[in-house]
Subunit: 171 residues, 2 copies
């Protein structure tokens, strides 16, 4: 898919068909995140990719917004090491956002839908994916082929007016 | 450019040619950010796009890492409203990271290079772009055509080994 088409075709997808994701496609999505830039190239992240049905079912317990995760064909858990300084909380989240978007655009390009979920129960997550102490989960990215309609045409999104968000020269 | 090529061609660019960025291209880059997803669709962001040479020169003063900004053909200032609750600091930064990456991939697709700078002197920024109280600058994204070599071939990046970052099933 052309880049501009993929960017405009991305939308939140949380219902998926049974079609599995090819391992090479999943690796490409992960590589997109791995390539993302980060402040001073910190790369303060680990990505845990889950495809096992039982594990995906368990991941639904980490937050009410994660109930769609068992229906995903794969879920990427984004994790961050505990910050050594308070300022890294914001810095590292920004970088994880960059990695997330790269993965979602790469997924869209392959016709694969993606949707975020937040994580609240860190201890449950720790148990489910074997995450060591000193790390926390930031977000789940559920992946799969969309059950409603294929990705493709530019999506009309609910957004603040463009000219309200974008200021030219001066605010 | 194909999406996967654009994702792999993105690299930090901080030296630019004199070639201006067409207004329609700049708007496309901004639209990519405007389209980015955010927690509960908060869209807790404003983008100030600066193309005036004097203003770009002034932006160099907001942080030592912003010294390349006067050489950019355009710079997008990402700003965030002050958080109503502490937890929004991390949430909103993650979302700004998503918007950033969408803009950088959209820029790469157009052959336009991009590089981040951090912002420390918020009062200088406020004066330069007329940012109201209750908002802070998060990052500058300098944009322009790369002075060194065109964007295109997949970039070899300095990254932690892929298999160290990516865990399969369990950490």
């Amino acid at each position: 898919m052309q880049t501009w088409d993929a960017i405009r075709a991305r939308r939140n997808v949380r219902t998926f068909t049974d079609q599995p994701i090819e391992p090479a496609d999943l690796d490409r999505i992960l590589e997109a995140g791995w390539r993302a830039p980060s402040a001073k190239n910190r790369q303060a992240w680990d990505f845990v990719v889950v495809t096992d049905r039982d594990q995906l079912a368990e991941l639904a317990t980490v937050w009410q917004g994660a109930r769609f995760i068992p229906g995903s064909r794969a879920t990427i858990v984004l994790t961050v090491p505990d910050p050594q300084e308070q300022r890294f909380v914001a810095i590292d989240r920004y970088d994880l956002g960059q990695a997330t978007m790269a993965m979602m655009i790469a997924a869209t390009d392959l016709g694969i839908g993606s949707g975020h979920a937040s994580i609240h129960d860190q201890e449950a997550l720790r148990r489910i994916i074997g995450m060591p102490e000193g790390h926390s989960g930031v977000a789940l990215i559920g992946l799969g082929y969309p059950a409603d309609r294929p990705l493709g045409p530019p999506v009309k999104l609910s957004r603040r007016p463009f000219d309200e968000v974008v200021h030219r020269g001066k605010w």
